[in-house]
Point group: C2
Chain length 716, copies 2
């Protein structure tokens, strides 16, 4: 609980207006306490503690703005917080926002909702958190459906200062309106029902450092096990264990590198609570899991948290559930230790100990965008005292926490999928997904989610064309969780994208060529695993999101603010994936020299470059000058069976270069111990000799003596 | 104020649970008072009083369900009301719901929002009111964004009774989900921020009577002036007074029957408060209005309520405005008598007394469905003590009330357009409109709005094809307000539907034929005016909505519940208009014999009939057996200049027939006086002689001696 942290020295004087105070609670993190905060909020129910040891290593900072500009007031309907905002800053964040990236000038309605179709703020994972290009971040600690007005309004006292353009021409565009309305001088957070709230303000001095403070305050980033960074496949929903094993043999025969199989165990009723007992399609679950493991595959299971009355858990957990049903099932109150205990113990004994390596947590959001109400209503009452609104805000995060506890109790790291998340969720190893499927939105999610300490998986499901299939695969392999979700077809989509043809067994004409393109993308993912693993280690211990937006790289450049179709991966890579229908695109390169990852073409940064006639096999990926990129060399082997993995190291640019690798056992929480995990620093001079600052690489990596130099004009 | 009505004898015992009571406050109308209701609510700020004299004429009824099933509870976030619901009833209402008609099984989020694109309950005119096919209606008296869960959920105690279908097949359709979730036994209204609320329960014994009780409780239906039931045209936004007069001459030369011209006076700035002073395109507004009147035309002006700082009203009204701006203008607090007085007096002196006959009230809703926030925010504070949420719920209705007060002060009836409305709005003579433009939605609005005492105008704007143009005109002429809104093109759409071609002056090839089709529809409207006028009189004095859904006709027949594309007009007409893309459709005819309005074809009711290959000139319209339909004969003359209008009367079916006409002066409020207005009953026997129960028809109508018999097999 945040309230356990002693208040540190206050670097700004406590605000004199009414019952509010501003105190520095951790280095560079201030708590603005207003009114009487509610008992249930993300910070107040947190379990992960801030990574104080990492926070103290960040650069120092001052309180980021004039604290006298903060004000709060209450009314019958809400608690209203006002923070400063200026026209020359860009505001980002508010959780996963598939429909927009730059949030300045917008009202964000932070309701938990599956499948947002409009740019209102509703999201699978809304977070009352934002990052400013002026080098600070703000978390409003609420479990309510807050609305945040980001510079949208000016108060009536400013009416004479407003810019009016009177005229006969009344036609106007959305851009005109936006231009006109984004001149407010305030951010207003309006919290229904509350009579107070804490606000946490994270100092910089720059936007990325402010975001890192938030992630470290949340408990650091998650650290998925090494194997989980491979490619995932979810086969046909009706497959039996035999079908799945045959499919895996086929992948291995075809050289399709997959590491994880995701299944629906058939434990849901039609609509649609779970029994949590395997269907007869899987007569021997633990034997099946063993066989998968022997084949170098890991097993992830679909579920939702709603419990069918026939479940073995039902009777014991019923007293600790909501007053209302969801998807016709019992809703466990994950703020109640008894509910958590029963749910976690069942998962540990009956599933994880039987060989399950992770879970996909469905339906933990809400569904206002369908005309019927499938989830528990906001008026639900929970034994913990939470109401349905608060529980919707928290449910995705709490659900992740229960599953995380199961694996922590076994000292096994895991990685999963989840359909809802929220504030302080960065330590939880889950990637968000959505049933929405717009390719540009899916790419925008990769840009956007990291700004709130979230991960996003643009899973591949159906494809409307071969181009769509290949581009979507290229997108997912450059994401936190690389997944092909073929639940609706018995054969892989590269064999046949048409659902009906796939079902009756008629392949596409050009399936061999398509397979080559898909394999190339999946193999790129496998190559990148050592680099990605190190980027996740940096997330876990230093708070730097492994996938993040360009404004964090260049907060002073409004061109970078608008980039909603490219993103950084780790410290050195810049990805600008294509989607179907695009053959050209522009890419913003931050200042400095960059190289094309594949061709080595040298590019001058500090500008937008234009890519023309991008072939279907090309994945635009760029590397910062002076980077050493460790790549897996033996991509035809599974990770588990191929350790220590053979590494090649590329040096980009003609001069000395530097990179890193994270070393631990790849699967346990031992990395949290100072002796259990560490960064290896890779360097090379102009002689191309690879220098490694540690000899202890043998468990995970087999390193070469020389780097592969990729420099101006060279090709691979 | 409803609180002024003395509580009448309670026919049910006061509910013993906690601080709630159920009292009969008017005949067949019960108030269920729970907790401490908020000070600001539709009933508590009402000004129109219930039409008690009409209420006492309704059939008697009992309290419609077991009052012990009512319960209420409060929490930090909301006040939650539970009412009974059974699986065999259909629930309708909740204001204008363009996206759906039958509301059973749905969660309705009753937020005021322009342009709802999803079926969530958001609406230009959400009303916390519903009508049950079991013969009662319910009004939750709140000015909050209430959510109403209509039989969506069952409580956890019912989990063992739920129908589960467990299986391996997880594919499901929306219909499956709906089927599964619509089995709740409750309607739950969840009111944010409140700690109590009054609920009004309207008895039947049937659904239409319950709805009539609600309309009469609201103060009766509105009664537009006779002229306003003609056709309306809004010309090009940049037209000057000269352009408008030329256009009218062209209409008259072409035989296009229009009665009302709607203008944008150019008093808005670009975004977009109003000065309320005419632009230079109209150098002599009152002279212009006089010229229009001389040509038999009436004048309606566009505005929104938000006041530019340069407006003559600005300084005096500023102290009575919200703390925040809307469309960059001052927001008058229409709960403050001073703001109402300044706004109304200005409109009376400067506009109505200069010849303006009515107004179109724009932007009085809210805009959560655009990513920017153009309207005043919910956290606004108003001098009356209302907050922005309450004011959004009430604003459309209050704004109508201010304008209505202006005309009432001059004893002139008026009719207008408005973009938002709410509870108890039936006495206010405004039809809703929307910038959404889906033809099926527009038709559904005609079915739907009347269920909550609202009127809806499916105005014609752009057309994607000639078929689309003609079908939309056919739809609008069968609506409460028949309007072609050509604000975006200088020439009429029947001359050229393509905007660019219209602007540069190139007509469509087949414009003469299209003009014939459009004229035919506009002429049908003119013919129907005496019938429509009588239907509106029945709305005003008896509470029967003139346009209403089929379930009110046949509440016991689920086939009628599903009719969202046909509706009743008055007592005798059933309209089933086509939209573009349809050449076939089915029509549900209530039990009895029906006739095709135009062809006289005899049809057996109590079933769905199928119309095939419906030609573009055909408007499916049906008449109940035994009806006398008064039609205007001299449709080439304007209403104002053509009084008394020449009437023909059609008798449908071979037997005795009956109809009605309402007689008053057509323009003033004199009809409210018993001597100022009355129904004329028209009858005929089999000899086709028309009998009229009054000789006092001469002011409005010139009636024939014989009816025009339309019976089996006959044609016109």
């Amino acid at each position: 609980m945040q309230s356990d942290h002693a208040s540190r020295n206050s670097t700004v004087s406590s605000n004199p207006c009414g019952d509010q105070t501003v105190d520095e609670v951790l280095p560079g993190i201030w708590r603005w306490r207003t009114g009487s905060p509610e008992r249930i909020s993300p910070v107040r129910v947190r379990q992960s503690l801030p990574l104080t040891a990492s926070l103290v290593n960040l650069p120092g900072c001052n309180f980021p703005f004039d604290s006298t500009l903060l004000s709060a007031r209450g009314s019958d309907r809400s608690w209203t917080l006002t923070l400063p905002h200026s026209r020359d800053e860009g505001i980002f964040g508010f959780g996963l926002q598939l429909k927009s990236h730059l949030q300045s000038g917008k009202k964000r309605s932070l309701r938990v909702n599956a499948d947002p179709v409009l740019d209102q703020g509703d999201s699978h994972a809304p977070v009352p958190f934002y990052v400013s290009t002026r080098g600070y971040a703000v978390l409003v600690d609420t479990a309510r459906y807050a609305s945040v007005y980001v510079g949208t309004h000016a108060s009536v006292s400013h009416i004479r200062e407003r810019v009016y353009e009177k005229g006969n021409e009344i036609k106007f565009s959305v851009d005109d309106l936006y231009q006109s309305t984004a001149i407010g001088d305030r951010v207003v957070a309006d919290i229904p029902a509350a009579q107070g709230a804490d606000v946490y303000i994270f100092g910089g001095p720059d936007a990325l450092t402010a975001l890192r403070r938030y992630v470290l305050f949340s408990g650091g980033g998650c650290f998925p096990p090494l194997w989980s960074l491979g490619n995932w496949y979810r086969p046909f929903t009706n497959h039996s264990s035999e079908d799945v094993l045959q499919l895996i043999d086929q992948f291995q025969a075809d050289g399709m590198p997959f590491e994880v199989i995701g299944l629906e165990p058939g434990w849901q009723s039609r609509f649609y609570p779970n029994s949590f007992t395997w269907s007869s399609r899987f007569p021997d679950p633990s034997g099946f899991a063993n066989t998968l493991h022997e084949k170098g595959m890991f097993l992830n299971l679909w579920e939702n948290a709603f419990i069918h009355p026939d479940s073995p858990m039902a009777d014991s957990i019923a007293p600790h559930c909501a007053s209302e049903l969801s998807t016709d099932g019992l809703v466990p109150d994950f703020l109640e230790p008894e509910a958590v205990g029963i749910f976690a113990d069942y998962h540990a004994r009956e599933l994880v100990d039987q060989g399950v390596d992770g879970f996909k947590l469905d339906e933990c959001d809400n569904g206002d965008f369908l005309p019927f109400a499938w989830s528990f209503p906001e008026f639900s009452e929970f034994p913990s005292g939470a109401d349905g609104e608060q529980m919707h805000v928290l449910y995705g995060t709490l659900y992740q926490r229960v599953i995380d506890r199961v694996f922590a109790s076994r000292n096994r790291r895991h990685y999963g999928l989840v359909r809802s998340s929220g504030a302080l969720a960065s330590p939880l190893p889950f990637a968000l997904y959505s049933d929405l499927y717009d390719a540009a939105d899916f790419r925008r999610g990769l840009v956007n989610a990291g700004t709130s300490g979230l991960l996003w998986s643009p899973e591949v499901r159906h494809a409307t064309s071969v181009e769509d299939l290949v581009r979507r695969v290229q997108l997912t392999v450059l994401s936190p969780l690389s997944l092909i979700n073929a639940w609706y077809i018995p054969r892989p989509p590269w064999w046949q994208i048409d659902t009906e043809m796939n079902k009756i067994g008629i392949p596409m004409d050009d399936q061999e060529n398509i397979k080559i393109l898909v394999r190339k993308a999946l193999t790129l993912r496998m190559q990148l695993i050592p680099y990605l693993y190190s980027a996740f280690a940096s997330y876990a211990t230093e708070g730097t999101p492994p996938f993040r937006a360009m404004f964090l790289e260049c907060p002073g450049d409004p061109t970078a603010w608008k980039c909603d179709d490219q993103f950084m991966i780790g410290d050195s890579l810049l990805a600008a994936p294509m989607i179907a229908g695009e053959s050209d695109r522009s890419v913003f390169l931050p200042p400095g020299i960059w190289y094309n990852f594949a061709s080595g073409q040298r590019l001058q940064g500090g500008q937008c470059i234009h890519l023309s006639n991008v072939s279907l096999e090309t994945i635009p990926l760029f590397v910062r000058d002076g980077s050493l990129i460790p790549l897996r060399a033996d991509c035809d082997q599974g990770i588990a069976s191929g350790l220590p993995m053979k590494i090649t190291v590329r040096a980009y640019g003609p001069g000395p270069a530097r990179g890193r690798l994270f070393l631990d056992d790849g699967i346990s929480y031992a990395y949290l111990d100072p002796t259990g995990g560490r960064d290896i620093i890779l360097t090379c001079g102009t002689d191309d000799t690879l220098h490694v600052d540690s000899a202890k690489c043998s468990t995970l990596y087999h390193l070469p003596d020389f780097v592969n130099r990729i420099s101006d004009g060279s090709t691979l």
